[in-house]
């Protein structure tokens, strides 16, 4: 039997660079031909890596969406890929440019282009996870069976993630990157300083501002603080007074050990022992920061593992590691897929254990939370489910769902149910019996989601036995 493949695209619009990768994911049935299918992604290959361009900006904050559109079209062309063939993917806007208005601009420009994907602004947490997976940190952690962190030092931010095998243990983000200060390569004069660094310069009382001519030694006090904060971020050394200032959203909890680290992001390519002669070659402080990191306590106190990707970690993560497949025993009606960007409404475990009426009431109440200005859009109802459910449990869940989601069913919104435990096919059959005739529904399992996540579901693959799923974790922790 020939294995199915999914062509997936990842586009990363970062603070400083924009890139695109195309990946081929191979779907394989791991069970023998006569057993219940067990379908999983068996191989992830990056088949095309785009050029890396500086993110086209209209001003410091606004992305030039038209230029992005040209870039994507050009890359598809170079890769000899027809946009119709792309089934899944993620377009994420990360770092300092991750703003809602940018997402809308890019969505508009790329509509019908990237393959009909909703463009997401990745929160710093999602970006951290994607970069870590792209860097192969989870693989390293699985092999060594130790917690392993990745620090993705990009242009504007440093994204941290800690893996325990494939499980994400923690994430963090700091406003530290190679392009916090931009310098004209020829004149060696500063052309841009990020707001937080301006505050730092003021606090340190340094004679540095836009237009100042600089050398590595005049910048040294700033670089030292940045490196010190990064050391702090993985639990090394005394807290720097500016640690809190550089936090983007939150630091790591650090209630666990991190014996090993990987580095990714553009600055990971600059971790050199010796400073090169043309120190401002990239027009920023990336080389200085990389060199200082190389000599930092991180390198002496932690085991540094070679990462699979550096500057491309985030985009490879977005292209290859965001798509997963559902469980292999599921049920759905045809004609409603694909489904893009639906919010997850996850029921609490104690609500799940209630009787039909109470379960229905709590589902109905929670659906109401998603009413925006009296407008109700569809939501995905997610449950933990039971490990070895009784038939009566299935009936209870189904009855509770159909009663509780009455408001969605009256609007004829497709009913979409996610369960973590393996019970979706039985539950789907029970829903079928209770829903109006020919009512569209999807009921899949083996997908772990939390409130605040968004989800994309692709067209069925592997003879219709599984659905590709992208869970976009926008909130974490």
């Amino acid at each position: 039997m020939k294995d199915d493949t999914i062509l997936s695209v990842g586009i990363d619009l970062g603070t400083s660079t924009t890139q695109l990768v195309l990946s081929r994911l191979t779907i394989k049935n791991f069970a023998s031909a006569f057993s219940v299918p067990r379908i999983n992604i068996s191989k992830k290959e990056v088949i095309y890596k785009s050029d890396i361009i500086f993110t086209p900006l209209l001003n410091q904050q606004t992305i030039d969406a038209e230029a992005i559109k040209r870039f994507v079209a050009e890359q598809y062309d170079k890769a000899h890929i027809d946009k119709q063939n792309i089934q899944m993917g993620a377009v994420i806007i990360t770092g300092e440019t991750a703003r809602k208005d940018n997402a809308n601009l890019v969505t508009e420009a790329l509509s019908g282009y990237a393959g009909d994907f909703v463009v997401a602004t990745a929160g710093p947490d999602l970006e951290s996870i994607i970069a870590g997976k792209g860097a192969g940190t989870n693989v390293a952690s699985k092999e060594s069976r130790h917690h392993t962190a990745n620090i993705d030092v990009g242009g504007g931010t440093s994204n941290l993630v800690v893996f325990d095998g494939d499980d994400v243990l923690d994430t963090a983000c700091f406003d530290i990157g190679g392009r916090l200060i931009k310098i004209d390569r020829n004149t060696q004069k500063i052309t841009y300083i990020s707001p937080k660094v301006i505050k730092l310069i003021a606090a340190l009382d340094l004679p540095i501002s836009e237009g100042t001519k600089v050398t590595p030694s005049t910048l040294k006090p700033i670089i030292q603080v940045l490196v010190h904060v990064l050391e702090n971020s993985v639990g090394i050394g005394e807290r720097n007074p500016y640690y809190d200032m550089f936090i983007t959203n939150h630091g790591l909890r650090l209630d666990y050990k991190i014996p090993a680290l990987t580095f990714s992001g553009g600055v990971a390519d600059c971790l050199q022992e010796e400073l090169p002669t043309d120190i401002f070659r990239y027009g920023d402080i990336g080389l200085l920061l990389g060199n200082a990191l190389r000599h930092s306590a991180i390198f002496t106190q932690k085991k540094i593992i070679h990462s699979l990707e550096t500057i491309r970690a985030t985009v490879v993560g977005a292209g290859s590691h965001t798509t997963d497949v559902s469980g292999s025993t599921i049920s759905y009606t045809t004609g409603i897929l694909p489904i893009r960007n639906l919010p997850i409404l996850k029921m609490a475990r104690q609500d799940e254990n209630r009787d039909v009426n109470n379960l229905a009431t709590s589902i109905a109440e929670k659906i109401n939370w998603y009413r925006v200005q009296n407008e109700l859009n569809n939501v995905v109802l997610a449950f933990n489910g039971l490990k070895n459910p009784h038939y009566s449990d299935i009936q209870r869940y189904a009855a509770g769902i159909v009663d509780g989601a009455a408001v969605l069913i009256n609007k004829h919104e497709p009913l979409i149910i996610l369960v973590h435990e393996d019970m979706a096919k039985a539950l789907g059959h029970s829903l079928f019996a209770r829903l109006p005739q020919h009512y569209p529904f999807i009921c899949i399992d083996s997908v772990k989601v939390e409130n605040g996540d968004y989800i994309d579901l692709g067209e069925p693959i592997a003879e219709g036995s599984v659905l590709p799923v992208i869970v976009k974790t926008l909130i974490f922790g």
């Binding site: 039997m1 020939k2 031909a33 006569f34 057993s35 219940v36 069976r145 095998g165 025993t329 049920s331 490990k387 070895n388 459910p389 009784h390 038939y391 449990d393 299935i394 435990e421 393996d422 019970m423 979706a424 096919k425 039985a426 789907g428 059959h429 029970s430 079928f432 019996a433 003879e463």
Partner: protein, 304 residues
């Protein structure tokens, strides 16, 4: 009770025993201790050692990497990390092994509580085997029905049904008792999605049942598809594993390749209700394509 409690309990008992024998004659303290051991008869029941999750039980005293070992253990039901006492297993491990082995034996040697199939309205039948011993020693007798029994099946079931459901004890009564009440309604519910159905009062229950019994039933009822739910030979991991052997128009002596199997139906494998839903889809496929086993796979691959 967790593993730690069990360990300390066993340690206490052992130290008390050795202390008593050593000091019995000369120490009055020991005498009172031994008295108190004899006199404390309580109504408390010892915790069930089979409740301990073997994948989480880890008895190595000073492991170099506890987390790593436990992670490896989570992938297998094998009894790893059970440690030892001298050159032997620890008491807890030996008792657990014997308990699991006893459960497997019980599952083979005890009968399914007849109230379960009766209460579900099944047609009660028996192969030509008269006793458990005959059933275990003569597999061929477990694949056939007597003429009287064949007549009973004929008169109590529908003629030429699309789907004939059969439940057989097989080698594990525990598997049937644990799963059949969950899977039958799940299959029934699933079949409705495909416009198919069966009636519980037409389901045949077979005592002393081998897989081949479904072939004889296929010939007697002239059903399109026969689906046999049967208890599997128990092992030390679970005694409650059930399988479904499904065949299109089975005949006695047909090649085994014509059966489609759904195995490992138990609470640690494929949950019974989810298996039922999957079996319903399979049954629909077989009724439509008029094939089962390897033939069915071949047709599926062609149409791909």
């Amino acid at each position: 009770m967790n593993e730690q409690d069990l360990k300390s309990m066993i340690e206490n008992i052992l130290t008390e025993m050795t202390d008593n024998s050593k000091k019995e004659d000369n120490s009055p303290a020991a005498v009172t201790a031994s008295d108190s051991v004899e006199s404390t008869e309580s109504d408390e029941i010892l915790d069930d050692i089979t409740e301990i999750d073997l994948r989480k039980q880890f008895l190595v005293p000073h492991p170099h990497d506890r987390e790593g070992y436990l992670k490896m253990k989570s992938f297998t039901p094998a009894r790893l990390g059970m440690w030892r006492c001298g050159s032997r297993y620890k008491t807890a491990s030996v008792l657990r092994f014997r308990a699991d082995h006893a459960a497997a034996q019980d599952a083979v040697f005890s009968d399914v509580n007849p109230e379960i199939p009766k209460s579900m309205g099944f047609v009660m039948t028996q192969t030509t085997c008269k006793t458990k011993d005959e059933y275990l020693t003569r597999p061929d007798h477990g694949r056939k029905f007597s003429d009287d029994m064949a007549e009973k099946i004929r008169t109590n079931t529908e003629k030429s049904p699309k789907i004939q459901m059969v439940v057989g004890d097989g080698l594990s009564s525990a598997a049937i008792e644990a799963n059949v009440r969950e899977i039958i309604p799940a299959i029934k519910q699933g079949l409705k999605v495909y416009g198919l159905d069966f009636d519980e009062k037409n389901v045949i229950y077979v005592k002393y049942c081998r897989v081949g019994a479904e072939d004889h039933i296929g010939e007697i009822t002239n059903a399109d598809v026969v689906c046999l739910l049967v208890g599997e030979r128990p092992g030390l991991v679970t005694a409650k594993s059930m399988s479904a052997y499904i065949a299109y128009k089975p005949t006695m002596g047909m090649p085994e390749a014509r059966r489609t199997v759904v195995s490992n139906i138990h609470d640690g494998g494929l949950p019974a209700v989810e298996a039922g839903a999957y079996i319903a889809e399979l049954l629909d496929k077989m009724v439509r394509l008029k094939k089962s086993g390897i033939d069915l796979k071949a047709v599926e691959n062609e149409t791909k």
